[in-house]
């Protein structure tokens, strides 16, 4: 079961920007890149550092703690594809950005 949750207004995040959010108890990092919104878990799968403090380069985010790099489109860790950060669906409707959360019922 999954539901869409309102996150932010479309204009609240500039292109290339990132914003940490808490939605339904999930720590999420919302990113806007090349006009598209991506939502990933904000917790690095290595030791849990917040990816919001990392560096975004194209579609790759580098963790601030030990430099592990992840593709924001599918969550894959670039050095070992078996490790992934959770990725959430996003949609924009009437200038509002929504994030799809699994296991949550609105």
């Amino acid at each position: 079961m999954s539901s869409w949750f309102y996150a932010i207004g479309e204009n609240e995040l500039i292109d290339g920007g990132k914003m940490p959010l808490s939605l339904e108890g999930n720590k999420i990092l919302l990113i806007r890149q090349e006009g598209v919104f991506y939502a990933i878990s904000n917790k690095c799968p290595h030791m849990g550092c917040p990816l919001s403090r990392g560096i975004l380069d194209g579609h790759v985010i580098k963790c601030p703690c030990h430099d592990w790099q992840f593709d924001i489109r599918d969550g894959e860790f670039l050095s070992a594809r078996e490790i992934k950060i959770p990725v959430f669906g996003t949609k924009v409707s009437d200038g509002r950005v929504f994030v799809k959360i699994y296991g949550a019922v609105q």
Binding site: G48, H66, A80, I83
Partner: protein, 131 residues
């Protein structure tokens, strides 16, 4: 470099930190096909070393490898470093220190260390043998 070792403004004790590292590492190495060594004594010893390194240097660096001070190099030696040296570990069925072994390994003392040089040589040999 920021350390995430401090919890609620208080330094955690070594035993607690070792347990935390164990839980975090387990989540990382499991999908890669590795597990903690069945030798609990060596696991405990290496984790203790890592906690000391984390206290001194801010990160749980590999207890059996030397750091150079270059970030690109040293970050690949933060435990578990399996993703960055996988080919070598897959060939040995263990990591350099022996903290982790392949899931298929019951007796870590049957495993042999393979030097990086030997690994490269055997790879080159296989390449040449290919038609």
């Amino acid at each position: 470099m920021r350390s995430y070792w401090v919890c609620d403004g208080e330094k955690m004790d070594t035993g607690k930190r070792k347990e935390q590292l164990k839980v975090m590492y387990q989540r990382v190495v499991d999908p890669l096909g590795y597990k903690f060594s069945p030798d609990e004594e060596i696991v405990d010893f290496l984790l203790e070393q890592e906690v000391q390194l984390e206290k001194e240097k801010g990160n749980p660096f590999c207890p059996c490898q030397g750091l150079t001070g270059e970030r690109d190099h040293d970050m690949k030696l933060v435990c578990p470093c399996i993703p960055f040296h996988r080919e070598h570990y897959d060939a040995m069925k263990r990591c350099w220190c022996g903290l982790f072994v392949h899931k298929s390994v019951d007796d870590p003392y049957e495993l042999q260390q393979i030097s990086l040089k030997d690994l490269e040589e055997s790879k080159n040999k296989k390449k040449k043998e290919r038609p």
